[in-house]
Symmetry: C2
Subunit: 398 residues, 2 copies
């Protein structure tokens, strides 16, 4: 299937010297030719980057023309000066594309605690604005410009037919690959569509979808200061704001697309050798299911076991037990890669070699954890923890 | 200072073949010649080992004669059969030393999800009972018998003079060194004194002290299914239960001793190269301070940075920000090893090489994180995260 791009958007990605390596792009521009609705969801970290502070003030809203993204410096923990720099970055972008100051949004990712080199950023914005194009190649350059330690570009696309027969396109680019010194990696995602949405509808849809996709992944459980997902809807393919059934169609496509992008992040985590999918069933409520899934997902013990292809299921059950979520331990069951290992609080005999082999031979590992407390379930994605991850994150100044 | 042992206790440590390595002891017996008060604090993990379930029913109380400990198999996640085995282990111990069934307590640590080899345990208990001695050497054998992946024995001793001029002795043995396949390590500690205490007083004292010592350490944040601290007070040196000022004296000595034992655990963590002390000041309440300290302590990003001697302070501030504890980010300051790195939300210039050197050259690293929300503070201990830790925890079945 061809990778479709929505109408009315142009892209650029350049190197403007924020990153020392001149072969790495470090500034991206995503421009909508017509004013677009914008929605955003942001990090829950109390210590948040200046771009997050700025975008939070501006979204949801209408009339947006561009998103500018730099990588290499996160502009987080940078005080008053940092906020002014984020505002300046937005203003420079607006000027370069002929928009009003408040029609732009900003994202930054990279090392925290240092100020943006504004002269470089300014030059980068001008260069990017001069290179904008609606081509797939330029879309990919923009996706590359937001990467930090990512080893692969993360993009996805969907199209759908509305009830009036018109086709709309939805696509996304994202970055995120755990953390590595000197960078604190961050999840940044830009979603764009040529459908139209009212700002409130766009925000509600994005929040709901992000909660079921981007908020269900983890590499090491550290919520970055700069996590941001922005969603632009410019109406270039269909200018009437979607409602009702069409809005539901778009929401379903958005969820499907975000789930694809979301999984790419732990799968590209630093030194990762397994993508782990965790299904938790039978909880009292979604919050309980999520707490359990997230605790299992972030457990160093569980993650190192999978790295070593060790079906050490006790670590998973024990991680669930330490969450503070109440459940009957004698009604817990667990499967790994479809093998029944634990049933109603009692260990089952199993062939360790066979289960270990199934972990070792597959990039994907599947946990299914069953409780009997209610009907709520959740799916969560995480990565394993490898010695390579530690090397990458430890060896910065040494 | 000589290592003093309290009066009226005898010890043994033997190999009974629970561990395959015949040079490793795997069963310990601590016997009080006279009935002792016993208090206990236990794991908060909802999935808890059978010995924890049994001891919880029995403590606090009076009239205890022995603690039996095995290592190699944790007797956790073992269902009905596991609980019966723990009861049998207690009964066999009682029989071997000539006590009543309910005068004994049990601890187990090691791999979870498999049943105890009861024939080996029975033989071990008999052998240990035949070898009991009050010597320092036997105290050390008992301390060795509870070790799993520990590389050093963890013992400490204190003595104090009561208001009536009598001297009492307090000492402890512990084990714990993070986790390693196939074992889930566990923190087990036995504290013994020849003072006398009423059960309620012993329990209150132990709970308060554990909360400020053993509950303020972490290696990777995984609360084991079997964590247990037991405290025996047999009155062999002073038979009147301590009250008021003498009780406070004992509590202070107990806290001091437990802080010493507690730090030994992250310091002996798997593959650990740094013991990190985290002081958090100026929080609204102790719970907030603890949440922040614990989140920093368990953060893979922070721990790998210290492993690499990287003064990447942004990771510490960001970890504090993601706790959910509310604070003013513009009133946060941070020191590492006494160097001011961040003040009132703003990064300070510092010589990276000097700070890195101070981390690299010392086994101990010190974080001081200052808030301006109130008067509460806490001290917490953790270890760094090294590639060696991952190797040790991943390579079990492979």
């Amino acid at each position: 299937m061809a990778f479709l791009l929505p109408k009315g958007y142009r892209f650029a990605g350049v190197h403007c010297d924020v990153k020392p390596n001149t072969t790495k792009l470090d500034l991206s521009l995503i421009v909508s030719d017509r004013p677009a609705t914008a929605a955003g969801v942001y990090t829950q970290n109390l210590v948040c980057g200046a771009p997050v502070q700025l975008d939070r003030l501006r979204t949801p809203g209408a009339g947006f023309r561009a998103i500018v993204v730099n990588s290499g410096v996160a502009n987080a923990c940078t005080g008053e000066q940092g906020f002014q720099n984020a505002e300046t970055m937005a203003a420079l972008t607006a000027e370069a594309i002929g928009a009003a100051q408040d029609q732009t949004l900003v994202m930054s990712t990279g090392v925290i605690g240092i100020q943006l080199p504004m002269n470089k950023i300014e030059a980068g914005i001008k260069e990017a604005a001069s290179k904008l194009s609606s081509s797939y190649e330029h879309f990919n350059l923009a996706a590359s410009g937001m990467m930090t330690t990512d080893t692969v570009r993360k993009t996805a696309s969907r199209s759908l037919t509305l009830s009036n027969g018109k086709t709309i396109v939805l696509c996304g680019m994202g970055k995120g690959a755990a953390m590595i010194g000197p960078n604190m990696a961050t999840m940044l995602v830009v979603l764009i569509t040529d459908a139209a949405l009212d700002p409130g509808d766009a925000q509600t849809m994005l929040k709901r979808v992000a909660d079921e996709t981007f908020n269900c992944i983890s590499v090491e459980g550290h919520t970055s200061t700069s996590d941001t997902v922005l969603f632009l809807a410019n109406g270039a393919a269909e200018s009437s704001p979607l409602k009702d059934q069409d809005q539901e169609l778009l929401a379903a496509a958005l969820k499907d697309l975000c789930a694809e992008l979301a999984q790419m992040i732990p799968n590209d985590g630093e030194g990762v050798s397994h993508l782990i999918t965790i299904d938790v069933y039978g909880c009292k409520d979604r919050e309980s299911a999520k707490t359990i899934a997230k605790t299992v997902a972030n457990d160093a013990l569980v993650k190192t076991a999978i790295c070593g292809a060790d079906p050490n299921w006790g670590r998973i059950v024990s991680a669930a037990g330490r969450t503070g979520v109440s459940f009957d331990p004698m009604k817990v069951s667990l499967k790994i890669n479809g093998f029944d290992l634990y049933q109603n609080g009692t260990p089952l005999p199993f062939d360790k070699q066979t289960v270990s082999q199934s972990i070792r031979d597959n990039r994907k590992t599947h946990f299914e954890l069953f409780f009997q407390e209610g009907e709520a379930s959740i799916r969560f994605w995480t990565s394993d923890l490898t010695a390579e991850y530690v090397h990458l994150n430890a060896d910065y100044t040494t």
